[in-house]
């Protein structure tokens, strides 16, 4: 009951925050100089033609009318048509979103998993050489400039060694080949995903490692660990079974909280690797003044971050029996 009320309250909050973001975004995009037609510079288009296009796109109406339309359309799930692609924004996003989700969830799960594992090891060797090197290593990979790392990865593994395709998500050789089955196709995607995945992994696992390490050290000081020791359980059991599950909780939170950060990184990674995802589409639409598309992608990202923060909080409470609503 309490949990449900909490969730409802949070959802209301999210709705309000979201509405504000919605409005701010509208203002920003409409008040900024530059209209989308100006982008399509073409010496052949006369001012009259440009004006026709502007009125067709509904950009010549008073601002508040545009705002009302904008809200109505938003609540009816109509994000309008992309200025650039001329297709419904929803279609474009629906097309790009799965690619981003694939890359993101895999990289987050992989890096959290490895991070927790290594963080545990580092905490075992607290103060020792292993710990020092792991900490420094984690800090170093965590602070590498992401696009630069991506370029280096491409250079080494795709260009010099030729192990992986340079960019993209699928190769036409496989997908146009009528003989290729689902297995070949998914292997092809995996093959393309390897480098962006490895890049994101390298950037992110370090922070999970560090969080896990310090959280583990803190947990080991708790009374119930002392109790477990007193019961005569072996160190290994204590660490793996008593301490680690509790210590991993902050990692869960951090996954949620670092989402905004990962999305920044995701946009860069997708841009450098030409991964046809939502982040790259946002960067592209932003530089092409494609209002509807940029707005929708940004809103989508905002929703994802907001909701995942909620999910993390709920999950946290679910995992940690000490937290009750």
């Amino acid at each position: 009951m309490e949990l449900r009320r909490y969730i409802i309250r949070r959802l209301v909050q999210i709705a309000i925050i979201f509405f504000v973001i919605l409005t701010v975004l509208f203002m920003l995009f409409r008040l900024a100089p530059g209209d989308p037609v100006s982008r399509m510079v073409d010496p052949d288009m006369t001012p009259e033609e440009a004006q026709i296009l502007i009125s067709e796109l509904g950009l010549d109406q008073p601002l508040w009318m545009q705002y009302l339309y904008y809200l109505r359309n938003f609540f009816m799930g109509r994000f309008g048509n992309s200025f650039h692609y001329g297709q419904p924004v929803v279609t474009i996003i629906a097309n790009r979103l799965p690619n981003t989700i694939l890359l993101f969830t895999t990289s987050i799960i992989l890096s959290a998993f490895v991070g927790v594992f290594l963080g545990k090891i580092a905490s075992w060797h607290k103060g020792g050489k292993v710990d020092a090197w792991m900490t420094i290593g984690a800090l170093a990979t965590h602070t590498v400039f992401l696009p630069w790392l991506a370029l280096i990865m491409i250079w080494v593994f795709a260009y010099k060694l030729g192990w992986f395709p340079i960019t993209g998500m699928i190769s036409e050789e496989v997908w146009l080949n009528p003989e290729a089955g689902i297995v070949a196709k998914s292997l092809d995607v995996l093959h393309h995903m390897a480098l962006p995945l490895a890049t994101l992994f390298l950037i992110h696992f370090g922070s999970y490692l560090l969080i896990m390490r310090s959280s583990m050290l803190e947990t080991l000081k708790e009374d119930y660990i002392l109790t477990a020791r007193a019961k005569g359980l072996s160190e290994k059991v204590i660490r793996n079974h008593h301490a680690a599950p509790n210590a991993a909780l902050p990692v869960v939170t951090s996954v949620g909280l670092s989402l905004a950060f990962s999305i920044n990184g995701g946009a860069l990674t997708e841009t450098v690797f030409t991964w046809p995802g939502i982040g790259r589409e946002l960067v592209f639409s932003v530089s092409h003044n494609d209002y509807p598309l940029a707005q929708a992608s940004f809103l989508l990202i905002a929703i994802v971050v907001l909701v995942s923060n909620l999910v993390v909080d709920v999950l946290y409470a679910y995992l940690d029996p000490r937290i009750r609503y």
Binding site: E49, V114, F117, W175, K236
Partner: protein
Amino acid sequence: MNLTHNVKTHVLTARVLILGLLAVMFLIPWRHAYGADMVKVGLLQEPKTLNIWLASDRWSRKVLGQIYQPLYIRDPKTLKFIPWLAQEHPVYDEATLSYTVKIRPAKWSDGSDLTSEDVAFTGRLIKEFRVPRYASKWKFIKKIETPDRHTVRFYLKTPKAIFLTRTLTTPIVQKREWTEVIEAAKKTEKPLHALLNHKMDRPVSSGPFVLKDWKQGAYLFLQKNRYFFGQDKTIDNRKLGPHIGGIIFKIFGTSDAAIMALKKGGIDMFWWAIQPGYLEDLRKHENIRVFYNEKSALYYMGFNVRRPPFNDVNLRRAIATLIDKDFILKRILQGYGIKMYSIVPPGNHFWYCPNLPRYGEGLPKEARIRRAYEILRKTGYTWQVPPIDTEGKIVKAKDIRLPDGRPMKRFTILTPPADYDPNRAMCGMIIQEWLRAMGMPAFSKPMAFGSLIQQVKTRRDFDAFILGYGNLSLDPDYLRNFFHSRNDKPKGWNMSGYKNPEFDRIADLSAGTMDRDKRRALIWQMQKIIMNDVPYIPLYNPKLVEAVRSDRFTGWVEMLGGIGNIWSFCRLRPR
């Protein structure tokens, strides 16, 4: 113990999972080659649409150019028009002011005949919906008649020079395919909007290729069109194919990736200008051939001649003298380009006027300063510290004053941002430095493209700017558009606000002159007027450097604007 066991299995699963993932990544079996007779072309970005009426970006046009064909195209060498979908050159009837065009027997990719009805339909569609980019080329057409299945007659309201060069090069669409679309569009509130946003999945083609598959974000596959009218025919003394199974357009996103793919043989051609930095490697590569072609392009610095300080032609001339085009060409363009002396690119031989004033041509930096100083001093400009001191040495000038004695206010040179075009942004920076050496308070300001256009075209509140056109039409009608005083209005093309009645008169005359040679004389005269008044200073025209693999296909046709043209794709054949 049970607990230990549990933990152990967890760790084990973890390790197996990671190893498995790594194995999958590394040990992918090398795929066998598929589509040996397909030309793979690298694109930088995804085409935005296959709806020809919406397609304003280069990438869509590159793809659609293989699908929708016009009545006439240009010969790659002479740039003269030759009949394409048309059977022969149009027949002009002066009395009725009409042109009659005979259509070649041709088929659409669905097997149906391409008739005069399709041509007339295309024209009417453009006129009715006032389709942007096409409407202005068709609005002077009074009436389109189809006396028979293979004849179209266009009646003009007034003589228009661009009828031959622009109207008749409009791609023709299939009536059957679009009838339903426009009927539905007409019923909506915003018909043009509906037409532009119609989703076209498989356009019916009259060209050498037809779209088979489009994986968003990855590739487009165009297959050979077996109904292509030019198949195995000789047109313009060139035997056409296509001799290839199809074209696969691959989307790369960055030049780096595409060029690496080119080096590795992943693509056969990269359809985009190659930055000079890549060239050294590409030239050394044994299986890569590099083509250098001119572009019909114009990159220039424009002034706002409506207000001080640039309403003074002497100041504009002095600046033209100060700008070292050799430096721009050598340093910024790395030598891949040509200096521009007119609004019309020199590659457009017929219309280009060769003897125009060349301000400060070939002079070293000091001589430029001296000459510009002379121009300005003579016309009443003064300095607190002039650029030439009493001993005749060059010094850094300070605080230039206008002839009326007022100090020159700070002015900005707007340029596109570096991400959009590093060359133009860099030119702005360099020109700023040159002008500052003369004591002018110049500030180069890169600006988002949309904002820049807004500032220059709509609000018309600016001092100077650097812009360019990467793909100027070969017909010089734009000269009239750029400088006719009628176009000096918000969103009009006369961005400088240039006003010259003499120029207007000649320009109007040229628009209605159907005789090529007479029109050329007028166009030359226009160029002379402009280069004398310099509302624009033409800077450079980058050379188009393109690279292809030479090991799989041959037969690329070079022309103004590069090798990516319909001739190339019709004549390519496997080695």
